[in-house]
């Protein structure tokens, strides 16, 4: 295989074609172009990040955001011994795993279903994309109403089948599932669109070759199409993971971290510590640990991806 498949995140690696090699150029010019963007990120991401790290070593309170004093690593040691924090770490991992696994499965399945031409396909694809374009706050509001215990459409529907009212957002047994379902509704179309693009880049000859061999649909998919999709699946797994760790609005508005902290992810925990408990220092420490989690995931992703790419290209 002449062209090697690999996952290259835009901008992180050189994807130049040979004919562009002439441009290694001209001293300061590229820096003139890129420095405004980098300077902007330095001011609005790096400086606050550094300030956040610094805050995490203090006992700063919300009412006096500039007046905290240093407490060393106390915030971190307290957190690591705090059941509430450990619970929110566990909740984050559960939520992330569920969203990543189900969004990839459902998104891939939908992409496969819609990959073959049929009448009304453009319309079907457009409708399937609606959820991704729907603002998070609107997603949260309609799901809050649909989950409503006494009058929501879910409980009204299962009542017809003879079931009693379920407290989707009130019962700690169902809170996580309710939040995951609302999230999946929103994010699965993104997986579908990206997988569809990947499916359409599978060369027709590959299908032809297996058809001649008399392979059926499922084994064709597993033997031919799936390996071709692996780089895309890995990239999607990374994006879905770091986006899940970051996700705020849907969880905050649906459950606010409840019931009984069953959906209290790290990000929700940060927000509550900062704005309800007014402990900016503790909130910053949780944030730093959350960012470390995302960093570890990303590094693992790059290692796995590099290894897999090497194996696939052999």
């Amino acid at each position: 295989m002449a062209r090697q498949k690999s996952v290259v995140l835009a901008g992180t690696a050189s994807s130049e074609s040979p004919k562009k090699r002439g441009l290694s150029t001209t001293g300061l010019l590229p820096y003139l172009f890129i420095s405004p963007a980098l300077a902007y990120l330095a001011v609005f991401v790096l400086v606050p990040l550094a300030r956040g790290v610094q805050l995490s070593f203090t006992d700063t309170r919300l009412i006096n955001p500039t007046g905290g004093k240093s407490v060393g690593v106390d915030n971190y040691t307290n957190l690591l011994a705090d059941d509430r924090f450990l619970n929110s770490l566990f909740v984050t991992i559960t939520y992330t795993a569920a969203v990543v696994i189900f969004s990839l499965l459902l998104g891939t399945a939908t992409a496969v279903l819609i990959n073959k031409p049929f009448r009304g396909r453009t319309l079907a694809r457009a409708i399937l994309t609606f959820p991704y374009a729907t603002p998070n706050v609107a997603v949260a509001l309609i799901f809050i109403w649909m989950y409503n215990q006494s009058s929501g459409v879910f409980n009204q529907s299962i009542a017809v089948l003879g079931f009693g009212q379920v407290g989707w957002l009130e019962d700690p047994r169902y809170g996580m599932a309710a939040v995951v379902v609302a999230t999946l509704w929103k994010v699965t179309p993104f997986v579908m669109l990206v997988m569809l693009a990947a499916l359409q880049s599978v060369p027709d000859e590959l299908y032809e070759a297996t058809r001649v061999d008399g392979a059926d649909g499922v084994s064709t998919f597993r033997a031919i199409v799936l390996p071709h999709l692996m780089p895309t699946i890995r990239l999607l797994a990374l994006l879905m993971t770091i986006w899940s760790i970051r996700r705020f609005e849907i969880i905050y508005l649906l459950t606010g971290g409840g019931p009984v902290e069953s959906t209290n992810t790290l990000v929700i925990n940060i927000y509550q510590q900062a704005f309800n408990q007014q402990k900016l220092g503790v909130a910053a420490a949780i944030g730093v640990l959350g960012l470390l989690l995302s960093l570890v995931v990303t590094v693992v992703f790059f290692v796995v991806d590099r290894r897999a790419t090497r194996k696939e290209s052999q």
């Binding site: 590229p30 606050p48 729907t134 603002p135 009058s151 880049s201 895309t232 900062a274």
Partner: protein, 278 residues
């Protein structure tokens, strides 16, 4: 595989697809349906499955009561600011990443990507402290500045992918004619990547439009609430009927869906640039 089996498989996959389409569209439909029901139906006699279209003419009046235009206006201000600022920063950065080799290019790209894994909630706290010092709390400008940090890198990815596809020879011949690098970018590259620029603008605009976290944390003045914060506040307030909240949510959602459909191809190619090159 025999013929009957294949027919059956085809039927099953068709039914599954229909199920997915219903699931994707139902909540939007239910938003619409709820916006036309009264609270006594919703919480008493039960919501009808068919929308009560005869109430459609009451919707504008209900929306006027929650000052929807002020809410959407604030959202539009944030969204426009984010779009313009992101565009200026991103188009230059994308040009540099696509056209030049330079020291620190890899790290610059990673720096841009790293914003994608930064929880906004982490930056809310230090930005709150920072903005308090500059008087940017309760100021829509502060929301533009905070959000651009997260939207601009996405615009860079989309634009870089588009510029990568343009042959460099076109700029080279302009260079021979004495065109400056900024002239090459402005007069040659930009006109050639207009669809992708539109896609980047749409995605940035709606990132600003949807923004909730920073606004919810920094804005206490009700007159400055964007629609996202206003809607979340109205939900569960007994003074605002649920139908009005849902009508507002729908008005807030529909432009996002419409514009996204126009440019989804470029958005996907930008967000996943390089992932799908077999």
């Amino acid at each position: 595989m025999n013929r009957a089996g294949r027919k059956l498989g085809q039927l099953a996959s068709r039914l599954l697809l229909i199920a997915f389409i219903l699931i994707a569209s139902f909540p939007i439909y239910w938003m619409f349906n709820t916006s036309l029901a009264t609270d006594s139906e919703l919480f008493g006699s039960g919501q009808k499955f068919v929308p009560q279209l005869q109430r459609l003419n009451e919707v504008p009046q209900n929306l006027a009561e929650i000052e929807i235009l002020k809410l959407l206006g604030n959202s539009a201000f944030i969204a426009t600011g984010v779009t313009v600022l992101s565009f200026i920063l991103a188009v230059m950065a994308a040009y540099a990443l696509s056209r030049f080799k330079f020291h620190g290019k890899g790290i610059s790209g990673f720096f841009l990507f790293s914003t994608q894994m930064m929880p906004e909630a982490l930056l809310v706290v230090p930005l709150f402290a920072l903005f308090a010092g500059f008087g940017l709390l309760n100021d829509l400008t502060g929301l533009v500045l905070a959000n651009t940090a997260f939207t601009m890198p996405v615009a860079v990815f989309i634009m870089k992918t588009a510029i990568d596809k343009i042959p460099y020879e076109i700029e080279e011949s302009a260079k021979v004619d004495g065109c400056s690098p900024y002239g090459q970018l402005g007069m040659i590259v930009i006109p050639l990547i207009l669809p992708s620029l539109a896609a980047a603008a749409v995605i940035n605009f709606f990132d600003g439009w949807n923004e909730f976290l920073f606004a919810n944390s920094f804005i206490t003045d009700q007159d400055l609430w964007p629609a996202s914060v206003g809607l979340a506040q109205f939900m569960g307030q007994y003074s605002t009927p649920l139908s009005t909240v849902m009508a507002a949510a729908l008005v807030f959602t529909l432009p996002a869906i419409a514009f996204f459909l126009l440019v989804q191809r470029q958005i996907i190619s930008g967000l996943t640039a390089g992932a799908v090159k077999g």
